[in-house]
Amino acid sequence: MNLSPDVDGGLAVLIAGLALWTIAVRDTFAAVIGFVAFGLVVAVAWMRLAAPDVALTEAAIGSGITGGLLITAAAGRRRRPPPQPDGRPRGIVRIAAATASVLAAVGLGVAVLSLPTPAPTLAPNVALHLGLTGLANPVNAVLLGFRAVDTLLEVFVLLLALLGVWSLAPDRFWGGRPGAAQRVDPHAMLVFVARLLPPLGIVVGLHLLWVGAVAPGGEFQSATVLAAVWILATTAGLCDWPPVGKPRLRLVLVIGTAVFLAIGLAGLVIAGAFLAYPPAYAKLLIVAIELPLTLSIAAILGLLVAGPPSREPRR
């Protein structure tokens, strides 16, 4: 279509403009809104680049969950303003940050523009060996099959991030519930919506998980939808965040990683390398990894957005 360069150019200008506005605007909440809008337009750009897997992840995690995290941080900062009298960094720090950002952006641009065309790619190799994993979606075949160790490490990083968020709480709140207690009016409109959406959200989440074998989807996107409706239910006051010290909660958080690790170590014995799958059982093992992993990631993402514990634990 001969309109394509204009459309892509328009999208690029929009993305750059939104990014500039988000940085320049004064009010923190307005900046968060700008960031969410930025994420949405970037997801559309990924679709223009024919990368639906990335677009799905950007819309879900980059825009949705990260937006939720920023909201929690902004709201927390508004409640407890920073201790130093002038919360803004000094001039020299800002110049250093600006220089580092510009250098990183220019470096990335140079690297991308100097790639040879066609750029070197392993995609034909993946397509050749796709049958070994039992999956038809090459992206998930790489994420859970050929480079499963990266996904395992990502989930470790998520757990560490959660520990980092929890460690922001004062000592006396350790083990307590995050967020603030909500008074709920049973007839309020938000309560109605929060009762209606979670079952649908669970269906959508399961669909995204299962369809990941053949089409864009998978455990991260599914977990994000599940976490989002959990956060909605909590925001409406239908359920409260669980106390962070509760043993069953901690079990849910680690079970995904534990199963992943166990299957990986079993692969050492059975198939000769860490996280190797015997080809006959590859699909089965991948499903066995994905199910608890989705549950764990959903719990981790929800608790990340909930924030550090802010109420004293009972007992």
């Binding site: 700008g34 969410v36 949705g64 309020a188």
Partner: protein
Amino acid sequence: MVEFLTAAAILLMAIVAAGLVRLLLGPGIADRLMAVQLLGTGSAGMLLLSASAVPMAGAVDVALVLGLLAALVSVALVKSADPSMAGEE
């Protein structure tokens, strides 16, 4: 039909991007949230149109997640920007 749907998709995106003016101007969070809500819904519609023209696997799912999460993030933002609104009618 394919050309019509593709043109409609581009037009819809342009319309909704123009609505982002409200994001810049809107005195206050409410107006900015409305611009983002429109962006989410419009992007979902745009993806539906272009997926109908040139089918791409997963486009419908991306549209679903875009529309849903734009709204849910807005809900979370309104609730936390105004904590006195905890659940009351």
